[in-house]
Symmetry: C2
Subunit: 772 residues, 2 copies
């Protein structure tokens, strides 16, 4: 099935905003490249090292920036003396909060605006001063030679304590950053109707984005124009933020972000470092390269907030869910960042339940501010909901797969409107089948009844992703040269997900050309078209219809031109591959590259815009993941043996990049469930304890299964958009950790409500059980 | 008048291809910036040195290229031995005609195709081998360490001898490169009707383009994609040529040409050096910078061919021209290059004459190939025609200004179709008036009747330029950001003429924004839109209507969006500056930057295409120049005291850049008439004698008058295009030299039929007259 994806879509697809030429159906029926396994178009550049990432940029006369950051979780800057730093070797520029042209500049965190240099430092890592010097080391040394007098203040590091009377206040208004309430139906009645009611408290850790490429940029002024090479998910967002902070026209800020080494949400916008680099470059009158240290990225460029969730659920003995009551608290960090954002969405939307109440409290603590992180809130909510579903299934003696299938909702309950399509049922059903759920279950039971200290379990989790349908605005331009080769111009960043590759495939498919003759220009506010940041799993469903519309616009013009050559009416012409044929007599035809006006003009320029989204329906991707684990009950060691991700993200454009996304999401989910957590020293200093790749454990190749499988569930989605695509990047990481937790429960009989589950944690629980 | 140019155009102007929004007239009635004296938008970059020209490009690991050229005007390469060169320090790549992947590559000169490395070297400077090495000097040394065995052949250097039986043959087919004949009416009858008939032979020198920035490029491969930074007049032309020679898709050749230091026609296309740099870069696997030496640019990147012209003219005593017979010969050089191209155009088209016959012979010689050079053929033809007009006026005792005014044609005789507009009469009439022709004439006569050895003369010449109306194709994209700032994307090169500035003014005028908020991206085949090369004085009339259409497309969209905000119909809305107002109640209005959908989308993208040219009319610019000279009859020294250029090039967009063009054209014309000539050693070696700025004399600041005046003749040209512009760059250099020759005649009574007129030449003629 999966390999046949190129013939999956047949009819009923929507007319794109830009009408298709001729009488052709508006959608690809049979594809040449779309849906195949095509290597990345930039594979050579990436593996050969010729791909230039922002951290590779080197400009003539470039100097290096370094930032002095507050070492305390909570302090007031009383005095800054940079006089010694300014005299140090190689120093070109020094800025502090009182520097001319700096004082008065502000920085925004969502709805909160404060000074760029805030003398009230609310987290370890707040900027205090910045330096540019001829070398990185000179800059670092000079920054740390700046003398700062701090008034150290009491801090709050534990978000569960943040609302207590005695907790130090992060902001004058108190530590409550926000609240959210949601209710439908009547949970009292729901619980009354239930045959079984369970209640549990779950905790998830604070996870750090920590992408491969460090955060940073190179900033260069040319007169009144600022050019920034930034490791970014969205160049227009960087442009917009920087222009606003500096108070200069948008057109005077050019942001380039061709290659970038991962962001996961932490590079959706620029950082203060971007503005500091720009200010230093102005003062130094030289380009400034400002790449953060790994330690800095742990401190202050975002995180997935920790959450504590209480979930109470009612179920009838036939599996009907009667009520969910969900309470959640989470830390936004020092500024508004969404401490509990979307944590409750799965409870609201994933399974059919008439009576639901959710309450969230978002609190300030003295630590780095939270930021969107791959499926914000969802892996946390999944950790609670999917473990609860397993527990309910056990309670009423039902197969957990069956319980989920019993509760597939007909519409989006969270939005009270239909989905364009939902593949939830298919993901669970066909995923379980492909995974071999029954056999695996049997195998695990047999193993666990044996005398072996190696225990085994299978587990699953399902998901919906809050958005993922993309939408306007987006503009793309395609230039078709007279030799049939193509230049594609789009503003979107390729954040490592293969955006360039899939857009090349869409172009190739529509224009009938080989992907090799397509050259892509992207992610440059100066020279490429408008795009919103690559995030929210919306890049493919936003940009691919836009690209297709641009290609269709090229074809429209070619048909008009060919009509002159063939001396027939444009409406009577069809595209066949790279030829234009007359419908009335197919022997009358012309190759695109022979079209007279194209040869004369040299190039045709097609413009595509993203059409509107459906007005009364929601476009969401779905998924279900299945895993099998082994636990060594003597050592506490756990092995994830295999994983299967069955995902409905609409049409598959490139099967290779699709599978990569699924595997990458699972790997990150393993990190979330088993290895990663931010450790603040809440007792003594309030400072971050694990601030590097040694102390903060990312899963490595040894922690993830060799046996990972991706099963695309492609469902004809005529209403989503004209490529039938939905987002994939985020759903693939949502149910991973909860599937593992469920499998671990089956292997050990222990419910791990607190993530991550480390071997040491496993040992403690196994020991406790023995003792108990 | 000139300063009022911004209120000059009022009505009758054409509807642009993209309709103007609302009920507004299609043309600017009153302007805010167009027609004013506005400094260059890139003035800061240019004067501060931050502007990066191709010769400034420096890439990591870049190496340098050098070319070994044939030292003989005619020879055959019998053997090339690069073995020693390959072992020399720093050498990274060596290519010769037998290198793999080089053999079989071809190079095109117009309709002639030969090998890239042609073992038959037909001119001094033909490429024989090329080297890339770590430094320029290593490359140069290694190139000259390549041992070449030549069979030296007899050469022809004198084009007037090229067709003789005994002349060595440049090509097997003989030395006749081409012929052209033109005839209208009956010249025999014409001469019979004449009251006076004059005949004269005129000669003009071979002039070298020798722009400030040397020819060259930087070439870099990234996988299968080639990026070239080239000092070029047209990046798409470079892309096209290089892709064709190398046999790779157009999309895989990206050519960038942001700044460039002059071309004058010699950079309309790439040189062999561009391809050699690309081949060396491939072999070296490093970027290669290949900048020619000044000497090389004298040898082999083009020239304005020398011409010998015989002109016979008949005139009635009332000033009616009855016949022109024109014969011309000129050297194409070693390959087809247009040795006599357009030399006869002024005779055909400028003055009314019913009987005209022109014959041209274009011949091969063993020297560098001719190329278009600022108004190809025209200054040569003007040198003959305008001196003849003066002589005819003298013969029939008529004021030379009056004789010209007597013969203003009603239509283009060369094309047999009307001009959209002709300002020829106004240029002559109002130019003479502004110049003070009568007083100057009187002053000169008085001076010349005095005993002083300083003699004085005034002279004039008029012109039409063969093309200058521009035309499709061209595409431009304008992005309007939500803060009202603007990004303009066009493919055209700014060859130093201020293209970026005038396009910014057109955008500013149409959108009602300040030029300072406009940022321009241009001249990049990868990221900017399609444009033909900047040449033929067509950049402004081609690109400015396209830019205007793009701005109009932006406004169209903004009106649609504003209609939503104001809740009225789009058709009832008008643009007023940067506000949208409801025509029915002007208090209902909204600022562009407040338009809701713009704020949400962040940007609006407008696309403009160049509309078609008039089908049955020709668009040509006209001009007349007037000068006053002094001759020291003791020393032969000449001083050009003042110049006035009255030019009809349609609407003035920026008065500063307009005047600069006029002055620059006059300066170049002074060089053509008084200082510049290529000297081949025809007797002994056939080699070029003057190959640097010392031996080849360009006019300097001391050779040009301080008193130069520009008088724009702006005539409402509703049919030309929607900005009413015509070309200026070339007409301004056409009549300069002939005006000087006419003034010198008045001062000395000597007719200088051979250009240039040097002080030494003047001395000889004065001496000869005394002796005679």
């Amino acid at each position: 099935m999966a390999e046949d994806s190129n013939v999956y879509y047949t009819e009923g697809l929507p007319v794109p905003e830009t009408p298709a030429p001729g009488d052709k159906p508006a959608f690809w029926k049979q594809t040449d490249v779309v849906g195949k396994r095509i290597p990345r178009v930039d594979a050579y550049e990436r593996v050969s090292g010729t791909a230039v990432y922002p951290s590779d940029i080197k400009l003539p006369n470039m100097v290096y920036g370094a930032i002095l950051r507050c070492p305390h979780p909570h302090a007031k800057v009383k005095k800054v003396d940079a006089s010694r730093a300014k005299t140090m070797p190689g120093v070109r520029a020094v800025i502090t909060g009182v520097s001319p042209k700096v004082k008065g500049l502000n920085w925004k965190y969502r709805n909160y605006t404060g000074p760029l240099f805030d003398s009230h430092c609310r987290f370890e890592g707040e900027v205090v001063a910045a330096v540019a010097a001829d070398t990185r080391y000179q800059a670092w040394d000079a920054a740390h030679a700046i003398e700062v007098a701090y008034e150290v203040l009491p801090y709050v590091a534990d978000y569960k304590e943040a609302l207590s009377e005695s907790a130090p206040k992060v902001h004058d208004g108190g530590n409550l950053a926000g609240m959210d309430e949601y209710e439908r139906g009547d949970i009292s009645r729901g619980f009354a109707e239930a045959d079984a009611v369970l209640e549990e408290t779950y905790e998830t850790p604070c996870q750090i984005h920590t992408p491969m490429e460090l955060h940073g940029c190179v900033a260069n002024w040319d007169g009144d124009r600022l050019t920034i090479w930034e490791s970014s998910q969205g160049v227009y967002a960087v442009q917009s933020n920087v222009a606003e902070v500096l108070g200069i026209p948008l057109s005077k800020v050019r942001v380039i972000g061709h290659y970038m080494g991962g962001g996961f949400g932490s590079k959706l916008k620029p950082g203060k470092y971007t503005v500091l680099a720009s200010l230093l470059a102005k003062q130094a009158a030289r380009p400034v390269k400002m790449i953060l240290t790994r330690e800095e990225t742990y401190l202050c460029v975002g995180n997935r907030p920790a959450n504590t969730m209480r979930l109470k659920a009612g179920v009838k003995s036939d599996g009907t869910l009667t009520a969910f009551e969900f309470e959640c608290i989470g830390p936004s960090g020092a500024y508004p960042g969404g401490g509990t954002a979307l944590v409750d969405w799965l409870v609201r939307d994933l399974y059919k339940c008439d009576n639901v109440r959710c309450r969230s409290k978002d609190v300030y603590i003295n630590a780095g501010t939270a930021r969107p992180f791959r499926a914000p809130g969802h892996p946390q909510g999944s950790w609670a909901l999917e473990q609860m579903m397993d527990a309910l299934a056990e309670k009423i003696g039902m197969n957990p797969v069956k319980l989920r299938l019993k509760n597939i909702p007909a519409i989006s309950q969270g939005r009270s409107e239909p989905y364009t399509t939902t593949g939830l049922k298919a993901c669970i059903e066909r995923g379980a089948q492909q995974f071999g759920w029954k056999n695996a279950l049997k195998r695990a039971k047999e193993q666990n009844q044996s005398a072996s200290h190696i225990k085994r379990g299978v587990g699953m989790g399902a998901c919906v992703w809050y958005v993922g349908g993309g939408g306007p605005p987006s503009t793309v331009i395609i230039k078709l040269f007279r030799d049939g080769s193509v230049n594609l111009n789009m503003g979107a960043s390729d954040i490592g997900t293969g955006t360039k590759t899939v857009m090349a495939l869409v172009t190739a498919e529509e224009l009938g050309v080989k992907p090799e003759v397509i050259q892509i220009e992207h992610a440059d506010t100066g020279t490429t078209q408008y795009a919103t940041p690559s995030g929210g799993s919306k890049t493919v469903p936003t940009e691919s219809p836009t690209v297709r519309n641009a290609a269709i616009d090229v074809k429209r013009q070619i048909l008009e031109m060919a009509a002159e050559d063939l001396d027939v009416r444009t409406a009577e012409l069809d595209y066949e591959g790279t030829e234009i044929v007359w419908r009335k007599d197919k022997s009358k035809r012309i190759r695109v590259t022979d079209v007279g006006r194209l040869k004369k003009r040299g190039v045709v320029v097609g413009v595509g815009y993203r059409g509107p989204n459906p007005r009364t329906k929601t476009v969401n991707p779905f998924g279900a993941q299945f895993c099998e684990v082994e636990v060594n009950t003597k050592t506490g060691e756990m092995r994830v043996l295999r994983f299967l991700g069955a995902h409905d993200s609409g049409r598959v454009l490139d099967r290779l990049t699709y599978d990569n996304q699924v595997f990458g999401g699972i790997v990150m989910g393993i990190g979330f469930g088993m290895t990663e957590f931010r450790q603040l020293d809440g007792k003594q200093t309030g400072k971050l304890c694990n601030r590097n790749w040694h102390d903060y454990k990312l899963p490595t190749a040894l922690d993830v299964p060799v046996d990972m499988e991706s099963l695309p569930i492609e469902i004809d989605d005529p209403e989503a958009n004209n490529t039938g695509t939905k987002g994939l990047g985020e759903p693939v990481t949502i149910p991973t950790a909860s599937a593992i937790a469920n499998a671990l429960y089956m292997a050990t009989g222990i419910r791990f409500t607190n993530a991550p589950v480390s071997p040491m944690g496993m040992c403690r629980r196994l020991a406790a059980r023995k003792e108990g």
